[in-house]
Every structure is written in structure tokens, then in C-alpha cells.
Symmetry: C2
Subunit: 145 residues, 2 copies
């Protein structure tokens, strides 16, 4: 492993080794957004057939601990992972489940104010906005279940 561009550098700076599995996982994360561990596994296996789910989870956990990956888990569903490019929040359609990244810089400011009032420091926040997207709103009633 010597091909170390972009994100990979983050791993190198850490105390972790840069293996081909990790590089492939990072690449998968750079390509897509809101990927489940399962999806990441599929994409990684396209390049490295032998990779296991265990490795995906272990790596994702490391990447999160060094701040390279942002996790987003929303009631019930499997967690979604994506490269921690810049702070953003999520807009989720309650009907079709599609997730969109949105910028809501005020959310953090607001959160910090609240948190400080409660004596918290080291503040961060996650805002999940739910609703029905335009496409789903068009359909009169899915009348399912």
C-alpha cells in the first residue's frame, strides 16, 4: 500500500495501518453517500472479492474514531456511513426513505447555545429533518399495508 492520495492520508497520520481493504473502503465512501455496511461490502468486493463484513465494520469504526467518517442512523434502519467531508444534516423522506444532505449551519450555533446553558462543552449536533418529498407527495396515496 503506497498509493496514498486524499483521504488515505488521514489514516496514515493515525496510528493505523493502511491496508488495501481500508483503502478500498475509503474509496467506496468517497464515491457514494449514505452507504450501509452491506452496500460498502458489495462495492469493496468488486475490487477485493475476499473482504468480509467484519472488516467493513471494524474499519468503519476506526474511521469514525479518527473523524474520517460520519455515521447516520435513523430509527429502525441500518446505519448509513459517509465520508466526513463537511458538516451537514439529513433530510429524509418518510415515504420512500431517500436521504438528502442539507446544510443547516444555524443548527450547530443553536445547539451550542442550548448546550452551554446546560453546562456542556465539546458540542456537536445532528439534525434529521423528516417529511414527504415532492415525488411521493404527487402520488395520491400509496395505500400500502
Amino acid at each position: 500500500m503506497q498509493d496514498t492520495k486524499g483521504v488515505d492520508a488521514g489514516l496514515l497520520q493515525s496510528r493505523y495501518r493502511l491496508t488495501k481493504q481500508r483503502a478500498a473502503i475509503l474509496r467506496a465512501l468517497e464515491d457514494g453517500r449514505h452507504l450501509s455496511a452491506e452496500t460498502i461490502l458489495e462495492r469493496v468486493r468488486a475490487q477485493l472479492p475476499g473482504v468480509s463484513l467484519g472488516t467493513i465494520y471494524r474499519t468503519l469504526d476506526i474511521l469514525r474514531s479518527i473523524g474520517l467518517v460520519q455515521i447516520f442512523s435513523h430509527a429502525g434502519a441500518a446505519a448509513k456511513y459517509e465520508a466526513a467531508l463537511e458538516k451537514h444534516h439529513h433530510l429524509v423522506c418518510t415515504q420512500c426513505g431517500e436521504v438528502t444532505n442539507v446544510n443547516v449551519s444555524e443548527a450547530l450555533t443553536l445547539s451550542q447555545t442550548i448546550a452551554h446553558e446546560h453546562g456542556f462543552d465539546d458540542v456537536d449536533c445532528a439534525l434529521v429533518v423528516t417529511g414527504r418529498c415532492a415525488r411521493c407527495a404527487d402520488v395520491p396515496a400509496t395505500a400500502s399495508g
Copy 2:
């Protein structure tokens, strides 16, 4: 089942039956905040020894569907349930895990603006503010793990 005060009324108005299990679950939810299904089971069993976890989950799901219960699930941990008294958000200490309810009315306004820009309607939002609480900040370093 005829003792129908407060929250119970909500169930009666719905198409669901008010059983003693459901009443006990509602009562448990009125007492505490951020209860896990397991905790609810314990509390309910104090009054009704035979109740099963399956019933807890089934009931919780019904209560959520008719808007009487608010679920809060935060990465990794088991979901937390509480009576849907009034809209509020959560402040979570990343160190000790304690959850506090906070009022952030601006969050919804903000979310609605964003959501509408994306063509969404029927908007709601959940804000999770994380940080280190005052008590944990006092301890120099937990030096754990």
C-alpha cells in the same frame, strides 16, 4: 378496563383496545423519560408480572403510530421511548450517556424552511445535541479503554 384518564383517552379514540397491558405501558411512559423497551418491561412487570417483551414492542409501535409516543434512537444504543408530551429535542452526554430534554423551537422552523426548499411537506425534525456534561467535564480524564 374502564379507568381511562389522561393518555389512555388517546388509545380509546383510536381503533385499538385499551387492555391492562397497554394501560400499564402508558403509565410507565408517563412516569419516566427515555425508557428502553427493557426498562419499560421491568416497570410494567411490577404491576403485571406476566407481560412479555413482544407486547411492549407491539404496544410501543401502536402508540407511536397514533402519536402518543416519541421514539429516540441514537447510534448503536437501544431505542428510547417516552410519552409525546410536547415537541422537544435531546441533549446527550457522550461520556456518561445521560439524556436531557431540551426545548429548541427554532429547530422546527429552521427545518421547515429547509425542507420546503426541497419540495418536502409534512415536515418534522429531530435534533440531537451531543457534548460533555458539566459533571463529566470535571473529571480530568476518565482514562478508560
